[in-house]
Subunit: 347 residues, 2 copies
């Protein structure tokens, strides 16, 4: 079996999760090196990784580099990605910098693995909120043609990085002890514990956030259909550590029933339908972020036909934003490349 020299760039929450998923999936790694700003030892699930500083030379001999990406600023892939690709390494970038470039495939393997064939050394992983959404849209779009999508999100703080997780934890401790929280930040402009913040990313001239516009552009690119009208009603941060939830409404060209949708989803890889609303077991009634945490799967439930409109369907999608929203999807891209022999170099 061919094995590959792998580099993981980034030693934060997503970097750690990539290392975890590579191990869980038994990825055929000959070696795994971890690159970040500065050298240190990173321990993930009992395994020690020696973190080396990221340099162009560090990619020599690397077959696949998984860049964790960063929130809000240019990722290491901007600085090192093209160099790494020039050295024959396939770059899989979880950051936002390359996603909309026409020469870079943006891939959720269950949806558009074929797009990997055209890669020129750099492949983009979609934004967390897009990945779980397109999984649910794809089979419906193929069968019933989706004309429009409206979405409101409930996003976990881990999508904003480790500082955001620490901020929610510290505020939770304070609230748990009955203490007042006097100041917010640095991760969020206002208190996130016991609150909802209706902003993720910066604002454009029309008042939409970057997170909202990612849902529009990335979804169209992955589904390969710019005709779908997508309305990001809001992308909001909720006081949840792991797991993004999405309230979704779609209109289809052909009428679609909840049963038809559930059947399509049951047969689609990466998805699990949790929609037994009358079950005695609460975990079978509908998905929640807490139940989805640390899972590779994306869960869909609360499926209903629109009231008085057979071409409308509304549902609830939940996934671990660090897994399918980041690490799992990136590793799955690597696996798809390996399966198809589209990694340039193996040992």
């Amino acid at each position: 079996m061919t094995q590959y020299n792998v580099a993981v760039v980034g030693a934060g929450a997503v970097g750690e999760e990539i290392l975890r998923v590579l191990a869980e999936h038994h990825f055929p790694a000959k070696s795994i090196k971890v690159l970040a700003r500065s050298a240190r030892t990173l321990t993930v699930d009992g395994i020690d990784y020696q973190v080396e500083p990221t340099t162009a030379e560090a990619f020599d001999g690397v077959d696949i580099a998984l860049f964790a990406g960063t929130e809000g600023e240019k990722g290491a892939a901007v600085t090192f990605g093209p160099d790494a690709a020039a050295r024959g390494c396939v770059v899989i970038d979880n950051g936002a910098d390359f996603r909309m470039r026409s020469d870079v495939p943006l891939v959720v393997p269950e949806v558009n693995a074929a797009a990997l064939a055209e890669h020129k050394g750099i492949i983009a992983n979609p934004n967390c909120s897009t990945a779980q959404l397109v999984l649910t849209l794809k089979p419906i779009h193929d069968a019933f043609k989706i004309k429009r999508v409206l979405i409101s999100t409930y996003q976990a703080v881990s999508g904003a990085g480790g500082a955001a997780v620490n901020e929610l934890q510290a505020q939770t401790t304070a609230l748990g002890e009955g203490r007042q929280i006097s100041s917010a930040g640095p991760a969020f402009p206002v208190q996130i514990a016991a609150n909802v913040i209706p902003q993720i990313g910066g604002f454009d001239d029309a008042g939409y956030t970057s997170e909202e516009m990612k849902l529009v552009h990335e979804t169209r690119k992955i589904l390969g259909d710019d005709s779908i009208a997508i309305t990001p009603m809001i992308t909001a941060r909720v006081p949840v550590f792991i797991g993004h939830s999405e309230s979704v409404y779609i209109e289809t060209e052909k009428p679609v029933t909840p049963d038809e949708a559930r059947e399509l989803w049951r047969n689609f890889p990466g998805l699990r339908v949790v929609d037994d609303i009358h079950s005695d077991d609460p975990s079978l009634r509908y998905p929640t972020p807490l139940a989805a945490a640390h899972k590779d799967t994306t869960y869909v439930g609360r499926v209903r036909q629109d009231l008085g409109n057979k071409n409308g369907l509304t549902f609830w999608v939940v996934s671990d934003n660090l897994r399918k929203g980041a690490a799992t999807n990136a590793v799955q891209i690597a696996e798809a490349l390996v399966e198809r022999g589209w990694v340039k170099r193996g040992a």
Copy 2:
């Protein structure tokens, strides 16, 4: 000045909030009696109220009775409301039991105070999530005619009563101390801290919850227009103590710009526009439930035109669910009756 004998029925979170709002608003009360299941002393903001058991006779001589209502079960207004009304008392019920009856006005005073003229002794207060929604819809509907509404909610636990608040607080303390939460309940079927629960109320045959259907039926009744298509995409519980948030999308017959909407809202009572997204002061950028708590006002922000559709508008509405969603609106109904001389009896 005419003064009134007032009864508040219910000594839970909403009952307490009604007493607080009556005091803050300097309601012309000659007397205030508090009725509940059993006698005890209730202290609200330093004022002691002697709670008496609710009986039909307790309403003798009462001019206005404000029923706090209960979550999920038949309220005291079912048992005692008709009796109280027969004794000449005007009943204002915050419970769900009477809202959709054709002989009971369902009122948000800023929107449809005129409907109070037809009251036959019982007046209904809308559900918390409806009250704040209709405030934002009314001026837009009058000026641009709303054809459809889609909504996803982010609702605070206090809407589910005191046990729910205690449950979130206990779970928050556990999480703050790094402890595992082994079991959920009794208020919620699964852990609510650090989670989102996409269910409020029971399910109907189409899979919608009672909370979702209240948004449909109550909104149409208050706006007096059954032609509006309303899609409750989800009503979800978030780990917030006070303040419901709503992500709303509307389609209007005539195109409406964000500036036109904001101008209408600025001139509408009970509403405040918080939409200065580039402000240095985070509290002016958009509303959050934490900032809306303990306020009578409903806040609206994140106003945007739909992408590529001038007849679509999306925005974010936040209000204190115990205030405008319950106590404040009930007291405002009483105030509207007093102003118009529509209380049957004053002393």
